[in-house]
């Protein structure tokens, strides 16, 4: 299998996130509504006849409330994926969130200790949790 990097450049994930322009100035105004309708004009950097086809990806930069486990969450989770993976979910129980964090550690190999798993779980429950359910079917999810 040929090295993929021969063929393409890749988005730089965190680098791009950090290099962003900072938060927009009208957050509080927009926050009164539940819609953000982001229009960006053309983000296509390629010239029409260029053999090199390039795009510039938008990046989210959400604000997370302070609380126990926030630092662990920001450091460990956002390295690999958008925090919207948490905020788009319905409220889940402590059991589900623990299973999700453990999946990230055990299945995907996130670099977090067992102690950090618990802190991250607590933070996720604090921002998007529900009271413990008697039975939780989602714990054994297949990993997709």
């Amino acid at each position: 299998m040929a090295p993929k990097t021969k063929n393409a450049l890749f988005s730089l994930g965190l680098t791009a996130l950090v290099a962003g322009c900072g938060p927009s100035s009208n957050i509080s105004k927009e926050a009164d509504h539940e819609i953000t309708n982001a229009t960006m004009g053309s983000m296509l950097d390629s010239k029409p006849d260029s053999p090199i086809h390039t795009i510039v990806m938008p990046h989210d930069e959400p604000v997370f409330p302070p609380g126990p486990g926030r630092d662990e969450f920001v450091t460990a989770c956002v390295v690999c994926h958008s925090p919207r993976y948490i905020t788009m979910q319905p409220r889940f129980s402590r059991t589900v969130w623990l299973a999700e964090v453990n999946k990230m550690k055990n299945v995907y190999g996130a670099h977090i200790s067992d102690e950090q798993v618990l802190k991250i779980k607590d933070y996720l429950v604090s921002i998007n949790g529900e009271p413990d359910a008697a039975h939780d079917p989602s714990v054994a999810k297949y990993g997709e």
Binding site: M1, A2, K4, N7, A8, F10, S11, G13, L17, A19, G20, C21, G22, S24, I27, E30, A31, D32, H33, E34, I35, T36, N37, A38, T39, M40, G41, M43, P51, I52, H53, T54, I55, V56, M57, P58, H59, E61, P62, V63, P65, C80, H81, S82, R84, T87, M88, Q89, P90, F92, Y108, G109, I127, N128, H135, P137, S138, A140, K141, Y142
Partner: protein
């Protein structure tokens, strides 16, 4: 800060910052009652925003008024944040290797000029389309009904490429890898496989065009695997490597991810999870309302146009029934002509409600071999939703 306020803030900051080029967005505020959060990605129109990294974008339902879903509105779903953002067609090659006598390195120009082009109209649907309707709720991309689209795909059959590579006897599986890369070495690269016989069936194809245009980058430019009738997880984007194997293919995305209960319609009970599971495969039969949309207000005493799209894995839609009284009575909808066995088929009806009030519309599709939609369905991953859709509307 409560959850609601927090989610508002997260949504509101939206795409607040861009990459180093520092392009600034302009934001506009929608109606306060709308919970829809839209975003525009490169080469795309405004889409329902699930996640940005990696991108997961859902098609607003009104685009399904067209038989072919526009490229700029076609749904997007990647698994790994390292997606390709630049491809140089002078150096890009589709590599064909493994259990073959003649490994190939093909440019997109080679594919266009050296092989017979084929076209097929086919639905692509995410395994998790409509996941947010499962109860109890399950974790994962919280799609509504818009992680699906119908397009005319043009390219080269996988068969013709495999034949040119002179596959050795004893081939079992063929794996397909794209340009996306994992964020950590411990994360499995996204690679999917089909059986050799399936890959060589003449319908599985490597597409270089979608609706007669090149693919948007986030839909898999420059090449995408097309697996008619099968869930989108097999439609590998930015396809770069085809490997023929003399044995079964195994990885995380096949052995652990994207599995369904080995039971009718992939259903299991939350209280008794299936132990026997299989990889997800062909679409089940389903219909999606296009008009009206939920909470739309219709007029009494005049005809209101009702329409939707229905599809299955290629047997063909033979009947769609519509109920306007919550399932008590049903009447056949009119079917548009078929435009391809893997395409969706549009159905229409005209409904003149006599009285004002709340109504529940339902649509139920049946295919050529008598398969129809579920009354109830659940699985732990939120896959293969095909419960008979209900749309509540007000007549006023």
């Amino acid at each position: 800060m409560n959850r609601r306020r927090f989610l508002q803030l997260v949504g509101a900051t939206g795409v607040a910052a861009l990459t180093s080029s520092c392009k600034r967005m302009t934001s506009k505020v929608g109606t306060p009652s709308s919970r829809t959060n839209l975003i525009r990605f490169p080469e795309k129109t405004e889409m329902i925003f699930l996640t940005d990294r990696p991108p997961q974008l859902e098609t607003p339902i009104h685009y399904f008024r067209q038989d072919l879903t526009p490229n700029e509105a076609f749904f997007v779903r990647w698994h790994l944040q390292g997606i390709p953002t630049s491809v140089d067609l002078r150096t890009f090659r589709l590599n064909v290797s493994g259990h073959v006598r003649q490994p190939l390195q093909l440019s997109v120009d080679d594919l266009r000029s050296q092989f017979e082009p084929i076209s097929i109209i086919a639905v692509n649907q995410c395994s998790g389309n409509s996941r947010s309707f499962f109860e109890p709720r399950v974790p994962g991309g919280q799609w509504k009904h818009g992680a699906v689209g119908n397009a005319k795909w043009t390219g080269v059959s996988a068969k013709s490429i495999l034949d040119r590579a002179q596959v050795k006897s004893g081939a079992v599986d063929v794996s397909f890898n794209g340009l996306d890369v994992p964020p950590l070495p411990s994360v499995a690269d996204f690679v999917k496989a089909l059986s050799f016989d399936h890959a060589r069936d003449g319908e599985v194809m490597i597409a270089y065009a979608m609706n007669d245009q090149t693919l948007p980058m986030v839909n898999g430019f420059p090449l995408r695997l097309v697996v008619p009738g099968w869930y989108g997880t097999y439609w590998v984007k930015a396809l770069s490597d085809i490997t023929v194997l003399p044995h079964d293919f195994h990885n995380y995305w096949t052995d652990i991810g994207y599995r369904i209960p080995n039971a009718p319609n992939g259903t299991e009970s939350p209280k008794d999870l299936a132990k026997d599971t299989i990889p997800i495969n062909r679409f089940n039969v389903r219909s999606i309302f296009v008009r009206p949309e939920p909470d739309e207000i219709l007029r009494p005493g005049v005809p209101n146009e009702i329409e939707g799209v229905a599809f299955d894995s290629g047997h063909g839609i033979r009947r769609v029934e519509l109920s306007t009284d919550g399932g008590a009575t049903w009447a056949d909808a009119r079917l548009d002509s078929e435009i391809g066995k893997y395409s969706w088929r549009r159905w229409r009806s005209s409904w003149t409600p006599r009285n004002r009030g709340q109504y529940r519309l339902m649509a139920r599709a049946t295919n050529a071999i008598g398969e129809t939609q579920s009354k109830e369905q659940w699985n732990r991953s939120g896959f293969m939703w095909n419960v008979i859709q209900q749309v509540d509307v007000k007549v006023a």
